[in-house]
């Protein structure tokens, strides 16, 4: 199954600009379905980015983060071709991860 994570890491000198998009409903628990019942909260709580064994970025998310969440940040110390590991876990314990390459 294709990964739920899309990542784009572009090295620009010593700084790597990272963008990620995750396929996830991010249900807030306040929305009703067609039958009028509340769709239970279902959202990513923690998303982590690691490079060379070190966590370079952590996102703590709640129900107010948009569906198919997007994040952009930048960090120093990565070179083109190196790995960047992304992983997330949601409030139901589901998880996914992906190893991307810095371009």
């Amino acid at each position: 199954m294709a990964s739920t994570i899309r990542i784009r890491a572009v090295a620009d000198g010593d700084t790597t600009v990272v963008q990620a998009l995750v396929q996830h409903p991010m249900d807030s628990g306040f929305v009703k379905d067609a039958q009028g019942n509340f769709i239970p909260p279902h959202y990513i709580e923690v998303m982590e980015f690691a490079h060379a064994g070190k966590t370079v970025f952590t996102a703590f998310w709640g129900p107010a983060v948009a569906k198919d969440p997007y994040i952009k940040f930048s960090f120093k110390g990565a070179q083109k071709g190196e790995d960047l590991t992304v992983s997330w876990v949601d409030n139901k314990g589901a998880a996914d991860s992906l190893v991307g390459k810095v371009q």
Binding site: A64, S97, V99
Partner: protein
């Protein structure tokens, strides 16, 4: 409508691109390399899932802006023009509101975003490790017109910037 962005937009399309390889290089904003499918190595699921222990459960559960900030940081924020909060005047849609926070303050350790009128005001929180830039861009959900507050912890003190974002439903009657 400033002319430059049209040029940039049109340049991307009018580019005489003989072979439209699937991995289209014509990224819409000039800075990005590939827009098409990610040049991603195989995805290995071995990496362990992140530890949810650090997730600030109580802060996310708070129902008021003041409580969320108190529980998360334990101190009051001080407005600062060095905290830059980029959010729209009128959100095109409350379900997807692009919000970006950046700052020139020194040794930043955390950035968070609070939407005061949301049922749970704390929307997102980002611990910033050394070597990571004090800048984050994300897309949030807003229940209704509300103040969006960017919080930056720098040198142990808490700074903030606030902007009102208008949110209403769109479209015709129905």
């Amino acid at each position: 409508m400033e002319e430059t962005s049209n040029r940039q937009r049109n340049a991307c399309w009018e580019r005489p691109d003989s072979t439209r390889r699937l991995m289209i290089q014509g990224a819409i904003s000039a800075g990005l390399a590939a827009i098409g499918l990610p040049a991603v190595a195989g995805s290995s699921r071995a990496a362990t899932a992140p530890d949810t222990g650090k997730w600030p459960k109580d802060a996310f559960a708070q129902k008021s802006e003041a409580d969320a900030i108190k529980v998360l940081y334990g101190k009051q924020p001080q407005a600062s023009d060095q905290v830059k909060l980029d959010a729209p005047e009128i959100a095109e849609n409350g379900a997807v509101v692009p919000v970006a926070v950046s700052t020139s303050l020194p040794d930043v350790t955390s950035i968070s975003i609070v939407v005061s009128q949301n049922p749970f005001p704390l929307a997102a929180s980002y611990p910033i490790p050394a070597g990571t830039a004090a800048m984050v861009s994300n897309r949030l959900k807003m229940a209704k017109t509300s103040n969006v507050i960017a919080l930056v912890e720098s040198g142990g003190k808490l700074f903030s910037a606030t902007k009102e974002v208008k949110v209403t439903v769109g479209g015709c009657g129905g």
